[in-house]
Amino acid sequence: MANLNIDSVKERTFDAIVIGSGMSGGWAAKELTDKGLKTLVLERGRDVKHIKDYPTTNMYPWEFEHHNVVTNDIREANPIISRCYAFNEDAMHFFVKDKEHPYVQEKPFDWIRGYQVGGKSLMWARQTQRWSDFDFEGPARDGYAVDWPIRYKDIAPWYSYVEKFAGISGNRDGIPELPDGEFLPAYPLNSVENYFSKHVKSHYKNRHVISARCAHLSKPNQIHFDQGRVQCQNRTLCQRGCPFGGYFSSNSSTIPWALKSGKCTLRPFSVAESIIYDDKKGKATGVRVIDTNTKEAIEYYADIIFVNASALNTNLVLLNSTSDRFPNGLGNDSGVLGKYVAFHNYSANISAEYDGFKDLTTDGRNPAGGGYIPRFRNVYKQETDFLRGYAAGFSAYRGHERSSDGIGEELKKNLVNKDLSPWRVGSHLMGETIPKETNYVALDKQQKDEWGMPLLKVSVAYDDNDEKMKKDYLEQMTEMFTSAGFTNIQPHSDTRNPGLDIHEMGGVRMGNDPKTSMLDKWHRLHACNNVYVTDGASMTSTSCQNPSLTYMAFTARAVDHAVSEMKKGNV
């Protein structure tokens, strides 16, 4: 029997464990196995194999039972998840059902989740921008949140490293506040987007409209073919999973890459209940897992643990990892665990028309979605009555003048009208929110889920800064649209809940001082140096870039550090 037990423990012992298989977990798996470590990847949901498990990917609109409309029963049973723009008949199987994964909303918060191998990297919006020092230095400048322990120079080579592998399309725009990367050819701006870009450049100092940078293979390199991925075919049906691997996801890229190494064990249906901390050894020794099918608790052991469970779930796992040494959650000597959660404010947009370029339209589809306006407020100095700034999307398009006026022959003609509409333009807000102690997550003291995990209590809200920033965005865009000669300008503000931006961040923030932060400059817990957190939870502040690319770079850098520490015998 003793031998059996020893064998069993041996079978459950790895060099490294990664909790989560999404955007950052996939990168941890790839990097750890590339470096030869025997790695266990835990995923709470089911497996989703590239291509094989994309059941809707080649379906035509009329092949969906309701032509891609979600039924009323599903919407009523899932009021939270059905607010997500990508939750339609073609991709709803990649989102959690509200009732199956409850949480407590102390304040209204739409927690949008995808519990499967690949996580939300399957359905993400694929926008990828680097941070600059204007972003990393935000907290140090105005004193909200703590200073980031890293700067652009620390992360720049790792941005390059992940960009080459993932495949990022973009132009080298030479904008200091949005550093250039290792780009595949950009998707071009169309005539009106280009017109607006030139107009803004000539009328405003330090404002730019550039081709949106995105994780699409506009022109793949050998490294992408090696992953089994080929050129993006402009389907823009990405949320279904791409049979070409045209955009980056864990499923098409990092996870199969890791598995191919022979060093990776992928374990779906495995909720990470807690990280096991050994008081005597003074370090984490493994992860306690609940098998979601059998409800059985199983322990796995490793020298290095990467927590990539997604921002809020990473908080949950750490908060639930209590021991004599850490009664308030793993590494939580400072008491800041779960606090200073922030997100992006997406609650405004603006549309207009342009009476020009009538001889031009577009053909095919642009996977980048159009243009991107990097942050221009409070970059070089504090210049407004709100802190930080915002980025914005910008796109122009023409459709056909297809009305549904009339009946019979007249209606049929109207529905196939080939006349083109005027150019329509649109922009949406992507605003930084300020991390505050009062925006937090914590464990609910009474309620537990089906697997015995305490429910996460979320208490996150907008504040005055967000309102001021939104007002400024609408004013500035209205002014820019007006001066560009756009007409029928319609500013619009909505009352969406925080969370629907799907950019929740923080709670396990980085910082130089263990008294006020959780992670050091290598993404290690200050108080437990073999546990790394490299997903959204680690964000000290949020700036306004789409965050995934930064998580990828953080992860590759942290793995490099972890493995070099391991080789030095420090863990």
Binding site: H66, T361, R365, E409
Partner: protein, 178 residues
Amino acid sequence: MALLFGGAALLPSCLNDKGKSVVKLKHIDLDAGQQALVADVADVIIPKTDTPGSKELGLHLFVLKMVDDCFNKEGQETFVAGMKEFNEAAKKKHGHDFVDCSPQEKLVFVSDIDKRAHDRKPDEEKDDAKLFTFYSMLKGQTVFAYTTSKYFMTKQIVYELVPGRYNAYFPVKEKAAV
């Protein structure tokens, strides 16, 4: 013949005492007469011309499915109540139920409703509000059924699943695909 095109999966499931086929619905209760009304109105909206019409394409079956599965309870109640008003108005004008009207009477009646629906202000509160809400719902769903049907997306416009290109500057004279 009626089920040649899209919606063929939704076969009529039983016959009522009048011998009319009835689609089995999950959330709302529409008898054979009401279902026939939906089919007849949809066929006036998208009639057979030199191209197929609603009945040939089975659009009404998809419309019924959408009302049954995708409308909320309030929308379904308005749909059913408005349909009754619609039928009453037809009776008043032509002396019998809408489904028993001649093809010409049906065309005249629906044309009139369509024009008045088009000219109404969005929030106009009148006694006949439900009639027009019903009509707008039915027309909207018929148009949706038609424009997302395989027939329309392959024969009338060309929907491309795999465009494989993006031309940012495309001269208008050339024919852009959808």
